[in-house]
């Protein structure tokens, strides 16, 4: 992908648009997908997907309904294995065939239905499945301390008590708990599928702040969103999918909403007037 320079003028062919080398930061990508494909019977959902995500980077995955965004993140998180292509984690080739595999690598996926237990409190949810123990008993004190610290590090301050049931939280607060869970797992890459889809203005701002907090802690974020305002607010780079292919990867600093919309809707950029990079 980094070598894909010079191809400035794209026309009707659906080859990816890349605003030259500038799109890629230096160093080894945390996750690299190379020519990844996935089909469901006759439906070719993903074709030749190339995607690099660097540590501490926020990459937004955009595209129209049915473009393949959810399919792509499910492939990354191991819900199913890709049919073609290769995946690299920190430069090493890996095969991710099961959610366990991705979790072991340090990938935390937040699906849109957040998967929290309403009847458990915030601490219990954050530690569900990896409780701290003192002998045979749960170590509530240590878990509460760690939960409190994690939430404080994420600057989450709107929660009344971390011992309240998650069912009593707002949508944004629930997202915060899910993000805190990912941080506790020491995830290196957090994948979020439309985390702001159902949220109001201030709650959306809160979630976007969480994304920024993750980035500041050196965690990479792959963010799916239909809301370009959100994308432009937090993302470093945007990858647009179009009919299961990468239509283009652009740096937020080098582009604007209009171009992004064009990529999403037509799968290509009209020859741009100003050269990037």
């Amino acid at each position: 992908m980094a070598a894909d320079t010079g191809a400035g003028a794209r026309s009707s062919d659906r080859a990816p648009v890349t605003t030259s080398t500038a799109a890629d930061p230096a160093g080894t990508p945390l996750l690299r997908l190379s020519k990844v494909g996935k089909s469901f019977g006759p439906v070719q959902a993903l074709t030749d997907i190339d995607l690099d995500i660097y540590p501490g980077e926020v990459v937004a995955l955009v595209g129209d309904n049915g473009a393949g965004k959810s399919t792509l993140i499910k492939t990354i998180s191991g819900i199913w294995a890709p049919d073609a292509g290769q995946e690299f984690w920190e430069g090493r080739p890996v095969t991710i065939r099961h959610p366990r595999d991705s979790a072991a690598l340090g990938i935390a996926t937040m699906y849109q239905d957040l998967a929290l237990s309403d009847n458990l409190d915030i601490v219990q949810n954050m530690f569900l499945g990896r409780e701290l123990m003192r002998g045979p008993l749960l170590d509530e004190t240590s878990m509460e301390l760690a939960a409190r610290k994690t939430l404080a590090d994420l600057s989450v301050t709107t929660v009344r008590s971390i011992r309240q049931p998650v069912g009593s939280l707002s949508g944004g607060q629930r997202q915060a708990v899910a993000v805190a869970r990912a941080v506790l797992e020491k995830a290196k890459l957090v994948i979020m599928d439309e985390p702001t889809a159902a949220l109001g203005v201030s709650q959306t701002a809160m979630v976007l702040n969480l994304v920024t907090s993750l980035k500041q802690q050196g965690v990479a974020v792959l963010l799916i969103s239909h809301n370009l305002n959100d994308v432009f607010a937090v993302a470093d780079r945007i990858t647009a999918l179009y009919l299961g292919r990468v239509a283009g990867t652009v740096r937020v600093a080098d582009t604007d909403t209009q171009q992004a919309v064009q990529l999403i809707t037509t799968g290509a950029l009209a020859p741009v007037s100003h050269p990037s990079a």
Binding site: S117, L120, Q124, G129, A152, T157
Partner: protein, 440 residues
Amino acid sequence: MSTTSEASDIQPDGPPVHPDEGMPSAERPAVSNELVTGSLLDYSKAFAKRARSGESGTLPVLVGLVIIVIIFQTQNGKFLSHGNLVNLIDQAGIFVTLGMAEVFVLLLGEIDLSVGYVAGVGAVVTAELAAPPHNVNWFLSCLAGLGVCAVIGAVQGLLITRLKLPSFVVTLGGLLGFEGVLLYLIQQDKHATGGVISVTIPSVLNDIVNGSLSVAAGWIGLIAVVVVFGVYSLLQNQRRRSSGLVTPPLSLVVLKILVVAVAGVVLLLICNANRGSALVKLQGVPWIVPLLLAVLTVYSVLLGRMKFGRYLYAIGGNAEAARRAGVSLNNIRLFAFVLCSFTAGLGGIVYLSTQDSISSGIDGGNYVLYAVAAAVIGGTSLFGGRGKIVHALLGGVIIAAIYNGMGLLGLSAAAQFMVTALVLIAAVTVDAVSRRGRTA
């Protein structure tokens, strides 16, 4: 609230301690103890708030019990007599035990309709072994009965978890099938005259319900319980306080210890009074009391303080979330059904001890209804995810109180059934309404 362990019990969500209590910002890492410790008044305010929002825990159940007691006492002065209260404790034993069994599966949002006859089968196995001609040691007999029940639970649990059959249907099959097994076993026993296996010889089995601790042993036991509970509560409080977590005020902890001590003293005074005649003295705490308290404690620790309990609540609340968190749904569910049937076996032994015998006449169908009723009346949700073992104790005592009180008043079985039904419907209504309040 009901889902959380004792730790969160003693820490209701939010006396107005600090605007963002529990989450000090980075600049304020060390919070002084004065700030994280609310006063007793703050806690009572927070408690009142929870009570209004339907998160009040066991308080309404206790109020209900008091009302029932007042009604019966005004109708018949004997209700609160020493002799009758001990009688009531003995009657409650089976409801409480079977109710505890049911809590495990209700927490999953499942149900076990077979506990009544599983208890019966457990009792038959125990009685067969303990009675002549086998005369097996009472302890081994009980172990065998409990073992058979655990295996029954495993079989039902495997059908439910591996074949994905609904627990309602599988255990409905159990309800029918194990009555059949019970009848068959009793028919096969040539020593069971008239379909009754008596266990009068191994006196320990009878003593579980009919025997009593000595007066001195009762007091020693109580002191031991209060000391252990007190030290544990204070240490727990100290650990939270020194970690800088929101800690209930010391006065609240002391108050709790006092309440336990006073309740224990009252129980002992009732049980230690002579309930026999002047000639044949009958006094002391029935064995069933320390026995049930021990089971209650073990199960409460299992549910509130161990991984198994945490996962049970998690599955009952959101099975998909638990699965994604790496919880092994099938194993936890299976173990819950095993525990349920095992505890039903304990109920069978309690029944055996109450009756001194087990007969083909045991009404397991009725007992399972009382078991579910006990758990639900006590505050366990039928919808899964909310409930505690102690609910079975409270609900079981309420059912026994109704049963006992109406018997004293000479009311018919018809009236008993109808009143119990009304109490049950009231309890389920409270459950459903408060649930709606929470999700809204």
